[in-house]
Amino acid sequence: MSEQELTYVTDEMRAAQGVWSEARTAPPITETDIRRWAMATHYPETPPRIYWDAEYAASTRWGGIVAPPDFNPFAWPVERPKGGSPGLAGARPDGKPLTGMNGGQTDTYGVPMRPGDVISARTRLVDWNEREGRLGHTLYVRNEIEWRNQDGELVKTRMSIGIRY
């Protein structure tokens, strides 16, 4: 039996490299979405007023409530996007399915998100590398994500590292 070099890179990943996905669009952001996000990420303390107190927020340079920069308007889609990240379907040498984990990210922020905003996102697979790690053979995948609001203004670019082992 010939020994093949172990790789978790799939043909689907090779085909997707560098290609921007079609944009997907989140439902309009509401004040409640922002308030709940801020409450969850500040729990058990009270979150800053800029995220929930319209009267106070109007007195800031933003003129109204803004979302925390890390707010994700794409949570809870009614129709789940098909497919997900290419390549997670593989299996390990022991036959168990691959586990995916978040390796880290760098987000650069443009204009803030506000109640009423409709955010669109597109994604592309940038590159990857594989090495032997603490969890065995491990694949690190770099993805770029770009968010824009309904006026085409840049909200965020994210470079993220996905780990598969």
């Binding site: 969850a40 994700n72 978040n102 880290g104 760098t106 650069t108």
Partner: protein
């Protein structure tokens, strides 16, 4: 408390921002981010994913804590321009996580007064979990 660009010095420390984390925090974050990943919810699934202690916390929540610490430091009128980090260690149940940071540079750039920081999230034993960087505009 809000800082001013003029007063900030290289080497200044970010005021510590801490949270004890367990299912109460993780479940709330799962609910808003729709992040119901079994290894964040269930000890057996955590062990299957390679963490002997069981379920473990979300990297994204630590990221939120970094953003929160920056916001508290710079005030509501300033801008968090960039945050990056790598999730190098696991957030175990009942860890007390503290966001730490140190100013590495300040410069006028693209019409903004920007402050650069090295950032981390450390546990109650001081173990770093999440080295990274941040840029704020004051």
């Amino acid at each position: 408390m809000t800082v001013s660009f003029e007063d900030i010095q290289i080497g200044d420390k970010l005021p510590a921002w801490s949270r004890k984390t367990s299912f109460a925090e993780w479940n709330r974050y799962a609910a808003v981010n729709e992040e119901f990943v079994p290894f964040h919810m269930d000890d057996e699934a955590g062990r299957r994913a390679g963490n002997e202690a069981g379920a473990f916390g979300m990297g994204n929540l630590r990221y939120a804590y970094i953003v929160n610490a920056l916001r508290e430091w710079i005030g509501d009128d300033a801008v968090v321009r960039e945050v990056g980090c790598q999730y190098r260690a696991i957030n175990q149940k009942d860890d007390v996580l503290t966001v730490t940071g140190e100013v590495t540079a300040k410069k006028a750039e693209d019409g903004e007064n920007r402050v650069y920081l090295d950032i981390n999230v450390v546990t109650q034993t001081g173990a770093p979990t999440c080295p990274g960087h941040a840029v704020v505009a004051l």
